[in-house]
Symmetry: C2
Subunit: 475 residues, 2 copies
């Protein structure tokens, strides 16, 4: 199918597309916070209606135990390959609110950037795929490939219900490959296909001491302080070099492939670029690896939050009854989140003094994933990026985690093409998240070309998806 | 002056006194939180009006840079000794609110206890002194001693403005002794005169890392985490036995007097009693000292609160831009808060890695104080407690800090008689703070007797107030 009509349509409708994205990003679809449940329902409703309006007549909402899924499909012909299109309409909490220059859920345009929570992660990126579909449907009344779209509202909290749905309804969603646009590319003139994601394990650690807060004048020095114990335990999780000290933690970490390291050193972010994107003065971490390797090839542990005792203005002289921390591990092949959780629990139990008690709750777990890109979908994606961005894409690892990617990869046994449009300084998960609109438009074009390239694949069943050594053959 | 009329009056009016105390305790006079400024003003206004209504015609409010002082005096005769009566109408923040069984500022009566924030610390205890004054004024139209009452609204935040006022207006407030009822006694049948308080140094430690929160997937492992650094620094403040590891911290701590240790072992709280009051299963702290000694004779460091990053429900994958802790040291003779602050700052600066920055703010400082009780006011207090509580008082150290006590002691050079009426399990600073009403009534009687006993002192100028070795001669 010729792409020129769809491309022209997309160009002509750019400002409406941005207007619609702003509308989409106005929903405070914060999956982690229960008080936004209605906003997630409304956002899913808006999305399903939008899909119907562009040509997916039977787009519908699927209720789950928490936030709804949105599902839409078009099977054009049994001869065409089928693409699973994944995205998520939920977003990270916007806190800390004081640091936003504009309201997180009232997206504003400034210097070619759209600012707002979720405009990049993932509403803007998934919307680029939707607009590419629209461009075909509104100019040709058909798509060049069969598509099954599934959009979820729980990616930021672990995709529990999506994964259950995929497991139960494999036959419904089975496809030849999947496309996920929820990753970053190094620069607008350097697009990238992401072939690996770190896994994740999020734990909440609570230390409990006295039954209730105690006067620290009357009891300070004689009763163990849970906030102090929490700090002492956390301090023992890393050694001075930044290496994680949990016994057994690195046992299953694979030695990196030297060919891959050389390639990544060439195409991946430099230490300086990473520091610039982080707006940090200095790097940190276990020695022997570049910053890019530390955030992709190597596991990590971040303290996402700590809380305990009095946190208001001024002083309050207490020994708090309890203190908590949110710990999040990023895992790499072949670490298993369940195994790591057991190691962490055992280590924390050993570190907990008898004067207090500790409680570890698992909040989120996802396996690391490496996609074998030795397949024809990769060649289609390379061609699409070349047309859409005017540059040959590189192949990168991401330090993030997208639980549905490992689920789709494992459950359906298909390659997952992670074609990102976000930039490294788009501030995903941070205040003032933004999306570079030229990338939005290039993303739409790339998707238009990708769908067309796939239609040219002489379809003979799905590609193999075994674990690769170095999974890229198109360098 | 005969006490029987005043005692009878106090007995007859008990239920009204409790009603008035409940009214007094309804003001949310939380000095640490700026949004309660109006409540402090209203509370001070109520108190001044109340003092006028019981016979202090010129009781008045003195504005300060923060929360007002309430001042009232009655000079009955130049031949009588003059007593400075101190109290504070401000209270600790009530958080955590969820743990209160009744609203903190809607005091309720249950099993002879009044429950509410401040009912014991210090509204209830200072009110006992006021009611004793009323009992004389309403039955005799005069007091047996001259009194100068000063009540402040900043005790829980360091008494800055009271101390300034005392320094500037020494001649106005100069007295022969002071009475402060803001301490606990071991039991209702074991009243106590407190002769020593620990000093305090409250610091806020902030660790700053990246300019803003970062995605912990994208940057975890490569950018130093301020919450982790905060924990690592806090972990280095104590060694494994609970001894504070700041170099020089113990240099000026005086070796305890063995005679005093033996006395305190006899009259002070046992380890079991302290654990029971704390409702804790096990003690903790630097070895070689009983729990009572650890909370009175020895310095301590408590983490009052920690905060940083995401603290809401669920997860948020970030490296927080900053993390903070509130540290409060309790100091003993001859530690100096300014000196200790300098030691802490130097140590924290040394512990701060170059990847982050640290900031230490002093919020509150007060010197430790030991009162020489070898004086006739002590004899008066012993007699008063014997009559009021029906038991001879013991002499105790308190682990708490009352900054105005050191200020009155140092600036005016007079003995400060700390006559407490609270019980160790009154939950000062904690949820469900309470005041045992029989102690309220016994406290009123004790004050009635104390004022009378003082009037019998053959007044010949103020008592010496030099630093004692073991400051009690009335055991």
């Amino acid at each position: 199918m010729n792409t020129s009509l769809a491309i022209k349509y997309a160009q002509k409708n750019q400002s409406r597309f941005v207007r619609e994205l702003r509308e989409f990003a106005r929903f405070p679809s914060i999956s982690a916070q229960d008080e936004y449940r209605a906003a997630l329902n409304n956002c899913a409703g808006w999305l399903a209606a939008h899909l119907r309006s562009i040509g997916f007549k039977r787009a519908r909402i699927i209720m789950t135990r928490r936030h709804p899924l949105v599902y839409a499909e078009r099977i054009e012909s049994a001869d065409l390959p089928t693409l699973l299109i994944y995205g998520h309409y939920d977003v990270q909490p916007p806190e800390p609110l004081a640091e936003w220059h504009s309201a997180p859920f009232a997206p504003v345009l400034k210097n070619k950037y759209l600012y707002g929570r979720g405009v990049s992660d993932d509403k803007g990126q998934m919307f680029a795929l939707i607009k590419a579909l629209e461009a075909y449907l509104q100019t040709r009344k058909a798509l060049p490939v069969n598509v099954k779209c599934i959009f979820e509202g729980e990616e930021e909290i672990g995709s529990r219900n999506l994964i259950d749905f995929l497991a139960k309804h494999k036959n419904v969603v089975q496809s030849d490959a999947a496309i996920v646009s929820d990753t970053s590319i190094p620069a607008t003139d350097k697009p990238a296909i992401t072939y690996a994601l770190r896994g994740a394990l999020s734990l909440e650690l609570e230390i409990r001491g006295p039954e209730q807060d105690l006067h620290s004048g009357n009891f300070g020095g004689a009763i163990h302080n849970p906030a102090q114990v929490l700090c002492e335990i956390i301090a023992k999780l890393h050694d001075e070099t930044g290496r994680i000290q949990i016994p057994g933690f690195y046992d299953r970490v694979r030695e990196p492939d030297e060919r891959e390291r050389r390639y990544l050193a060439r195409v991946g972010a430099t230490d300086n670029e990473i520091l610039e994107n982080a707006r940090a003065a200095a790097g940190w971490g276990a020695p022997g690896f570049t910053l890019y390797e530390r955030t992709t090839l190597r596991p990590a542990l971040s303290i996402n939050g700590i809380t305990g005792g009095y946190q208001g203005p001024g002083t309050k002289a207490i020994i708090p009854a309890k203190a908590c921390a949110k710990l999040s591990f990023r895992l790499v092949d072949d670490q298993n989140p369940q195994e790591i959780a057991a190691l962490v629990r055992a280590f924390i139990a050993r570190l907990t003094p008898p004067t207090v008690s500790s409680l570890v709750k698992t909040q989120f777990a996802a396996k690391p994933v490496v996609i074998n890109l030795k397949n024809r979908f990769t060649r289609a994606a390379v061609a699409a990026y070349q047309n859409g961005f005017g540059a040959r894409p590189v192949f990168v690892r991401s330090g993030g985690t997208i639980p549905p990617v490992s689920a789709i990869h494992e459950l359906l046994g298909i390659p997952v093409m992670m074609l990102g449009f976000a930039l490294p300084d788009d501030r995903l998960h941070s205040p003032n998240e933004r999306f570079y609109l030229p990338n939005f438009f290039k993303g739409i074009a790339t998707a238009i070309y990708f769908f067309d390239e796939i239609s040219k694949i002489n379809f003979d069943g799905s590609e193999p998806c075994r674990r690769p050594t170095f999974p890229v053959n198109t360098i």
